[in-house]
């Protein structure tokens, strides 16, 4: 866990030049295993805040606590070696091979050669780069995306619990950026690293952030789950920053389980008369059928039940689902699927096939305009769209 406590930085104090308050009393807490994204326009103090954490910049006032320990009491160099750091320009050392670059921190920590060798290979495997082929190369012999990956695993080499990243994926083209972000996200969740990442890309923040810290003029304006920021921007500045299409952006963050309605399901033994009556009452054209343990079996259409003996059980008219939705799939994926199959609804099923409700155009619109947001929902495990395809 890392805690910033009224952290401030004023530049230009010593020489009596014009003073700039780059960071103004920022307080926030990032829990273990979370990704926190610092977001905001250029010059708002994101980098300065980040660098005060590993003391590349000394705070003018305020404290940084890592697992409760005040970093100002630690040796600066020891502190930096215990934290991972990825700079915006990647900053691989051109005079060292990829292997030497990766093990810079382990070497500073005095690991033995065999352990460093093994660690380098392990990390390369994690980003799907063939060790034999790349370890003995020099940075300039790698593509931009490959260099970026090396920059990230170099920061991870000594297995630091906390990773500081300053626009780590800024230098990669948009297509590769997506891939590297997904890869990074998987790695972060697997290794359970706490990450603080600077970005000025709202989409990156939505994709990776468990928490987003919105900065303006050195002040922390809002600190929330990305969906809460999109759904409830605190002021006009943030509303403008998240963009006019912020509701559409939420599609990535909201899951089927959140937006499902509480449609009823009926048993296979239900009679046609009862089923028709229920459809009439709810103004529906279909009903989901489930068994006693709420296991979804299929559905019946109203048009199939017309002019049928009212006492027949609906079992005979059961149709199989064409497509379904998983609980953790995001709305963007679901909408795409609904258009693909030209259907207006999807049954939402849990991992065992249990019926949770239906996602329809109306239920989606209802959720997005309801004022609820993922960050405010009772704490569930943390999801991100990066987990899905």
């Amino acid at each position: 866990m890392i805690e910033l406590d009224k952290l401030s930085k004023v530049f230009g104090q010593k020489h009596g030049t014009k003073q700039t308050t780059a960071v103004d009393s920022v307080s926030l807490t990032v829990e273990e295993g979370e990704i926190c994204v610092f977001l905001g326009p250029s010059g708002c103090g994101k980098t300065t805040t980040l660098k005060m954490i590993n003391r590349l910049i000394e705070p003018s006032s305020g404290r940084v606590l890592i697992n409760g320990d005040d970093t100002s009491q630690m040796d600066k160099v020891e502190l930096r070696r215990s934290l991972g750091y990825v700079i915006q320009q990647i900053g691989l050392f051109p005079n060292m091979t990829i292997e030497e670059n990766i093990v810079v921190v382990p070497r500073l920590l005095g690991w033995d050669a065999a352990r460093m060798r093994e660690r380098a290979r392990e990390l390369m495997a994690m980003v799907a780069l063939e060790p034999k082929q790349y370890l003995s190369r020099y940075p300039r012999e790698l593509s931009g995306g490959q260099q970026q990956r090396i920059g990230v695993i170099r920061a991870l080499a000594a297995d630091p619990p906390l990773l500081l990243m300053d626009e780590p994926f800024g230098a990669v083209d948009p297509v590769n950026r997506g891939t590297i972000q997904d890869e990074f996200f998987t790695m972060q969740r697997t290794l359970n690293k706490t990450v603080i990442m600077v970005s000025h890309d709202i989409d990156e923040a939505i994709k990776l952030g468990d928490k987003v810290a919105m900065f303006r003029d050195g002040k922390l304006i809002q600190f929330d789950h990305p969906d809460t920021i999109l759904a409830h921007p605190k002021d006009d500045f943030i509303r403008a920053f998240v963009g006019a299409d912020h509701t559409l952006k939420r599609l990535l963050l909201v899951h089927a389980g959140d937006a499902a309605d509480d449609s009823p399901a009926v048993r296979p033994s239900t009679t046609v008369a009862a089923a028709l009556e229920q459809m009439e009452e709810d103004d529906r054209r279909y009903l989901v059928i489930s068994d006693e343990s709420n296991h979804a079996l299929g559905f019946v259409r109203r048009r199939d039940l017309r002019r049928i003996d009212p006492e027949t059980p609906i079992e005979e008219f059961r149709a199989d689902f064409v497509v379904t939705a998983g609980r953790d799939e995001n709305l963007r994926v679901l909408l795409s699927r609904m258009y693909e199959y030209n259907t207006s609804w999807l049954p939402v099923l849990d991992e065992e096939g249990g019926f949770l409700g239906e996602v329809t155009q109306e239920s989606i619109a209802g959720y997005l305009s309801s004022g609820r947001s993922r960050g405010q929902a009772p704490a569930t495990n943390i999801h991100s769209p990066a987990e899905v395809g």
Binding site: N54, L56, V77, E78, L79, R80, R81, Y85, I87, Q88, Q89, I90, G91, L92, F93, P94, N95, M96, V104, V105, L108, Y138, P139, R140, R154, A155
Partner: protein
């Protein structure tokens, strides 16, 4: 044969041809006549160069590194301007000054040659280090290198080609200026050149001059090779400044 090998072979052949032509021009008899002198004075010449270059490397690299440290970055430019102005003082004037301080002999010569070689080394060391990408220095610091570790592992290796450029300029200036030390009573290939002029013996003078030039070329080639060897990571195009 790959093109680089071909080039090397051609270069070698050209070199041999030039040397053969020079020997013809000077005349094999002259060389035979001055054989002992040539060997002796080449040795003396090299001794002057070695002493003054070692001193210049130690002080020059040291000063360049010191000037590039962040703590003196404000005054570094002013220091460099002084160095640059000093650099325009001609070697003859430096010799005269050295003479005034150390009198006749080898010490004056080494001092003058040291001063002449010092400036390009300091300048290039400073500029090479100052020119290292700030991102690299930040990465080094951020990953937890101490200042000396950053200097040794990151800054110097990346400034190496520029520094070596200065060392090579210094070396050529040094080898080329060393004959002048004859004038203040130190031994060098100047001991062939100047008597050659005074005694109106062009072949003797030529022998000394050509030997000096060849020495400069060979030492420069050596330095170029060293630069290449110690900067494997540079792209071939960046290295082609031989």
């Amino acid at each position: 044969m790959t093109p680089p090998t071909l080039r090397r072979v051609l270069g070698g052949l050209l070199g041999i041809a030039v040397v053969a032509l020079l020997i013809l021009w000077i005349g094999p008899s002259t060389i035979a006549r001055f054989r002992a002198d040539l060997l002796y004075y080449t040795g003396q010449h090299l001794l002057l160069v070695a002493c003054s270059m070692v001193a210049a490397l130690i002080t020059g690299l040291g000063a360049g590194i010191a000037l590039s440290r962040p703590s003196v970055s404000k005054s570094a430019e002013r220091f460099m301007q002084i160095f640059n102005v000093a650099n325009t003082v001609p070697p003859m004037a430096v010799l005269a000054i050295a003479l005034a301080f150390f009198g006749i002999g080898g010490t004056s010569a080494v001092f003058a040659l040291w001063l002449a070689a010092l400036l390009p080394i300091v300048r290039n060391t400073y500029q090479g280090l100052a020119g290292v990408d700030g991102a690299l220095k930040e990465a080094a610091r951020g990953l937890g290198m101490r200042p000396l570790q950053s200097l040794w592992q990151v800054e110097l290796p990346n400034a190496w080609p520029v520094i070596m450029g200065g060392v090579r300029i210094a070396l050529v200036i040094n080898v080329g200026s060393a004959p002048l030390s004859f004038l203040i009573g130190a031994n060098s290939l100047g001991n062939l050149i100047f008597p050659g002029i005074y005694l109106n013996d062009p072949s003797q003078m030529l022998l000394g001059a050509v030997a000096t030039a060849l020495l400069a070329l060979v030492l420069d080639g050596l330095a170029a090779w060293l630069t290449l060897r110690l900067s494997r990571h540079q792209a071939p195009s960046e290295r082609a400044v031989v």
